[in-house]
Amino acid sequence: MSTLDQTTDEILKLAAAHFKVQQEKLSPDDDFFEKLEIDSLQALELLTRLETHFRVELPDYEMQGVTSFRALAERIQSRL
C-alpha cells in the first residue's frame, strides 16, 4: 500500500498534468484552489480523476475544510 508521501506525489503529478501546471511549482501544503486556479466545478473534476486513479470513492463532503494537496492525500489514504 502507498504511503501518504507517495499518494501526495501522485496527486501533485496528476493535478499538474491535468491543469497544465509545472509539477515543480506545486508542493504538498499548497492550497490547490489557489495554486491550480480552479473553481468548485474544476475541483469536482479533479476529485473524479483522483477517484479513478486511486480506485476509491471519495464523497465530496470529505472535501470540507480540505484545501491542501497533503490533506487531500490523507482523505484518499484513509480509503485505500
Binding site: 473553481d39 473534476e45 473524479t48
Partner: protein
C-alpha cells in the same frame, strides 16, 4: 421535425433520431427560459414521434450536462413575494417541468441521455427520465437538494426508486453526495461508460442500433418494462412545496445566490 435553435435549447431530427441539445451557459441551469423551450420542444416531439425511433438529449456546453434548477432565478423571483405566493409560483413551475419530464419518460421513442461533466439535481432528473444513460468518465451525478433544505422536485426520487435499490436511494438522498460514473454504472444507473468527450458519439451509435428494430415491438416492450410512478411524482411535488415554505430554505437559496464562494458546489 424542423431544425430549431432557441436561446437555451436546439433540436433537430436526422435519420430517425431526434437530438435535443442543451446550450445555456454556464451549465444549462433550468429556469423559466429553458422550461419554456422544453415545453415547445415536447409539442414538436409529439408530432415528430411517428417518424423517429430515438431521442438523444445532450449538452453542448463544456462544463457538463446540467447543474439543475436555476436557483438564482428561483430566489430572485420569489424574494419580493409573501410565502404563499412564492410556494404557488414554485408549484406552478414544478407542475410544468413534471409535465415535460413525464412526456419524455413515457415517449414511444427510446430516449438516451448522453452525459458529460456535472449532472446535478434537475439535470440528473432529466437524465433519469430517459431510458438509457451513456456517460463519460468525468461525469458526476448528485442530488444536492438536501443542502438547501429541500428534496429533488423534478421527479428525481420516484425515478431513482424505479431504477435502484432503496439503500442506494437513502445513501444518495440523505448524504447529498456526488458520485462518479463508475459508481453510477455499478448501481445500474449508467448503461455505458464513454471515454471523455465520447458520450454523444456512443449515444448516436446506440440510437442507430435501436433504429433497426421494429418500432411497435420497442414501444410495447417499453410500456411493459417502464412504469411511470405518477402518484409518487405528484406526492413529491406536495412534499417539495411544504419544505419550500420554510424560512431555512429561503435563507439557503439566498446564501447560494449571493455566494461568490469558489466552492458553491461543495458542501
Amino acid at each position: 421535425m424542423k431544425k430549431h435553435r432557441g436561446e437555451t435549447l436546439s433540436w433537430e431530427a436526422t435519420d430517425g433520431v431526434i437530438e435535443l441539445a442543451l446550450h445555456r451557459e454556464p451549465i444549462n441551469e433550468i429556469g423559466s427560459a429553458t422550461l419554456g423551450e422544453l415545453e415547445q420542444f415536447i409539442e414538436e416531439l409529439e408530432i415528430a414521434t411517428g417518424h423517429a425511433s430515438a431521442l438523444i438529449i445532450y449538452s453542448a456546453v463544456p462544463q457538463g450536462f446540467c447543474a439543475g434548477a436555476d436557483l438564482r432565478e428561483l430566489y430572485e423571483k420569489g424574494r419580493p413575494l409573501p410565502v404563499e405566493a412564492r410556494v404557488a409560483g414554485v408549484r406552478q413551475f414544478l407542475e410544468r417541468i413534471h409535465r415535460v419530464l413525464n412526456i419524455i419518460d413515457a415517449s414511444p421513442l427510446t430516449t438516451i441521455a448522453a452525459v458529460h461533466g456535472v449532472c446535478f439535481g434537475g439535470g440528473f432528473e432529466l437524465a433519469l427520465a430517459c431510458d438509457l444513460i451513456v456517460a463519460d468518465r468525468v461525469a458526476r451525478f448528485c442530488f444536492p437538494e438536501l443542502r438547501l433544505g429541500l428534496i429533488p422536485g423534478f421527479g428525481g426520487i420516484p425515478r431513482l426508486k424505479r431504477d435502484v435499490g432503496n439503500a442506494v436511494v437513502r445513501d444518495l438522498l440523505l448524504t447529498g453526495r456526488s458520485f462518479n460514473v463508475q459508481k453510477a454504472q455499478g448501481i445500474g444507473l449508467v448503461g455505458q461508460v464513454a471515454a471523455e468527450g465520447e458520450a454523444l458519439r456512443i449515444a448516436r451509435s446506440t440510437a442507430a442500433q435501436i433504429g433497426k428494430f421494429d418500432r411497435h415491438t420497442s414501444v410495447a416492450a417499453k410500456q411493459f418494462i417502464k412504469p411511470i410512478p405518477y402518484n409518487e411524482l405528484r406526492r413529491e411535488i406536495e412534499i417539495f412545496c411544504t419544505l419550500f415554505a420554510r424560512p431555512a430554505v429561503e435563507e439557503a437559496l439566498h446564501k447560494f445566490s449571493e455566494s461568490r464562494d469558489l466552492q458553491p458546489y461543495l458542501p
